[in-house]
């Protein structure tokens, strides 16, 4: 048991390690920002399953890129954008495309496994795509991640308000002139970019911990449209950067750290939510007698 603990938590030579991984920390911070923001819409649009599906196809794309020796970021981008567009075509509502995702996802994962099996390079590369990697972020990769982040960030900020309206109340949004049908595929495209980014760092299997858990936790403790995104970003940043710092000294992939921090935040938020808002809220509805006053 002693040996395993050192593998999991080891803070010796921490300063030197920090030097080595500062690129990854920047990447993690970017990812926290993007994941926290886009998560608000993933939760509002009920898309966690689609995110999972996109991640698996992104993994297949990355594995294929690894196999044929091209840039892995490009491979994962192609896979994830392709998946996002496919899911977008298959239907706007979660119910319409859930079974389609369920069909496509294992196929993508199977392809990915095939490509990895055929790949004869470093095994760490293989494992990293599924469960995340920390040291592998080099300068060109950081630049490409930053470029994608900027595109995603600008797109999200520009369509924030109508997208929120369309996600929470599509019928009224359409009546008020929000281009609901246009926003849906555009959002899926942006989501594809964000997922491709996340796959690079946290791995395909665990993107949900970054893209869904922080926003889901935030909606448990607040219902203000201004506070929820801020909290979600704070939670995602804490999970991502905190998880990385914890993982630094270990020889274990970073994803268990990120998911554990993220899950802990979610649990605490649920508890706080439970305490602050009891399930049964007293009905403060105006009585019929009050109608006379209004009229």
């Amino acid at each position: 048991m002693n040996i395993s603990w050192e593998k999991i938590i080891d803070f010796s030579d921490y300063g030197a390690l920090l030097e080595l991984v500062h690129n990854s920390l920047y990447a993690g911070a970017l990812l926290g920002l993007i994941g926290g923001l886009i998560g608000v819409f993933i939760v509002a649009r009920d898309l966690p399953f689609a995110v999972h599906g996109i991640a698996e196809l992104s993994f297949a794309g990355a594995a294929f890129a690894l196999l044929i020796g091209v840039n892995v970021v490009v491979g994962s981008l192609v896979g994830s954008v392709l998946a996002a567009v496919l899911f977008g075509i298959l239907g706007n509502r979660a119910r319409e495309h859930n079974s389609a995702i369920g069909v496509l996802m294992p196929f993508g994962l199977g392809l990915g496994v095939l490509f990895l099996a055929l790949y004869e390079g470093r095994a760490a590369n293989k494992f990293g795509l599924l469960t995340g990697q920390i040291v592998a972020v080099d300068n060109p990769q950081l630049v490409s991640l930053a470029a994608i982040s900027i595109v995603v960030l600008i797109a999200l900020l520009v369509m924030w308000r109508p997208l929120l309206f369309a996600s929470l109340d599509p019928d009224v949004a359409a009546a008020r002139g929000v281009p609901v049908r246009l926003l849906s595929p555009v959002f899926m495209l942006v989501l594809g970019l964000a997922v491709a980014m996340s796959v690079q760092i946290v791995g395909a299997l665990l993107v949900l911990a970054l893209l869904v858990t922080p926003a889901a936790a935030a909606t448990r403790v607040s219902s203000s449209p201004f506070v929820v995104p801020l909290l979600s970003v704070a939670f995602a940043l804490t999970s991502m950067v905190g998880g990385m710092l914890l993982a630094l000294g270990s020889s274990v992939p970073i994803s268990p750290y990120v998911t554990t921090v993220s899950f802990t935040i979610y649990l605490v938020c649920r508890l706080i939510g439970r305490v602050r808002r009891p399930a049964a809220r007293p009905d403060v509805e105006a009585k019929p007698a009050a109608v006379a006053e209004i009229v």
């Binding site: 109508p162 929120l164 949004a173 359409a174 809220r281 009585k287």
Partner: protein
């Protein structure tokens, strides 16, 4: 019964005023199935029109036409003297009560605010000016007490009040309501109907109110548009909601009974065409 009884009338009010809504020779068809045709209807500002009829008679489709989401087969439809277009912000819209998710990241006031500026691009920021407008509307619908409560945790009646607030916060000329009383109990149905009436008195907006039950809006409706079997009748509630007119419309005996000021429509039609058969189904 009166001069506004039949199709082809030109609105009950002043003819020099631009109608809030005008349909001329309008017909609507999905593929080969024609829902209604030859519909002439002119609704004056401030007028309250209840739209009734069997399920599938094209009540909700009429609203889709006015919203510019469904083209007419023939005819012309104008809102405030101009052809309809998608996303016309002179129109306020209240859909069926569907129940929002409890984790919806909006408070009651944010939900109402979306009806004011939710269509604008860019991020959502708090705004004092918007808050003042929203506060006024919340007060008008009697929702001040839960202005800062999470909208997804409010009751169906409270959410429908907020939907009314959301529809009037942009100060529209025309209010469209699509079965807004569905799944509300009698008290709340009466209260929400009263809110529409109060709104039109205050703002002068015309109201088109689609409902399967005329009773909650009976005190307020100036006219009733009754759609059935591809035909329709327009007129005052008394002129339309009687046994003779409805029997003629359905082509089979229908009896309209009065009991304690409430109207009961009992049809002799086949079950599928029973005037109230749709009460037991979700309207499409």
């Amino acid at each position: 019964m009166d001069d506004r009884e039949r199709a082809g009338d030109h609105g009950g009010a002043d003819r020099t005023v631009t109608p809030a809504l005008r349909l001329t020779g309008a017909s609507l068809a999905y593929g080969t199935r024609r829902l209604w045709s030859g519909l002439d209807l002119s609704i004056a500002p401030g007028e309250f029109v209840a739209v009734l009829g069997a399920n599938g008679a094209g009540k909700s489709s009429l609203l889709k036409v006015v919203l510019g989401q469904q083209p007419l087969e023939h005819g012309v439809v104008e809102v405030g003297g101009r052809p309809v277009r998608r996303g016309d912000r002179r129109i306020g819209y209240v859909p069926q009560q569907k129940g929002l998710d409890p984790t919806t990241p909006l408070r009651a006031r944010d939900f109402v605010r979306l009806g004011l500026d939710g269509h604008r691009w860019g991020p959502l920021f708090p705004s004092r000016r918007v808050n003042a407008t929203v506060d006024r509307v919340l007060e008008a619908v009697g929702a001040t007490a839960y202005a800062d409560a999470p909208v997804g945790r409010l009751s169906g009646g409270e959410q429908q009040r907020l939907r009314v607030a959301q529809s009037i916060v942009g100060d529209p000329d025309l209010l469209l309501a699509d079965e807004p009383l569905l799944s509300l109990d009698l008290n709340h149905a009466a209260a929400v109907s009263a809110l529409f009436h109060e709104s039109r008195l205050r703002t002068g907006a015309a109201v088109i109110f689609v409902t399967h039950d005329v009773n909650p809006v009976l005190p307020y409706a100036d006219r009733v548009l009754y759609l059935a079997n591809g035909r329709f009748r327009i007129g005052t509630p008394d002129a339309v909601m009687n046994s003779t007119t409805l029997s003629e419309l359905y082509g089979s005996p229908v009896e309209v009974l009065r009991s304690n000021g409430r109207l009961l429509v009992a049809g002799g039609a086949a079950p599928s065409e029973h005037p109230h058969a749709h009460q037991h189904e979700e309207a499409s």
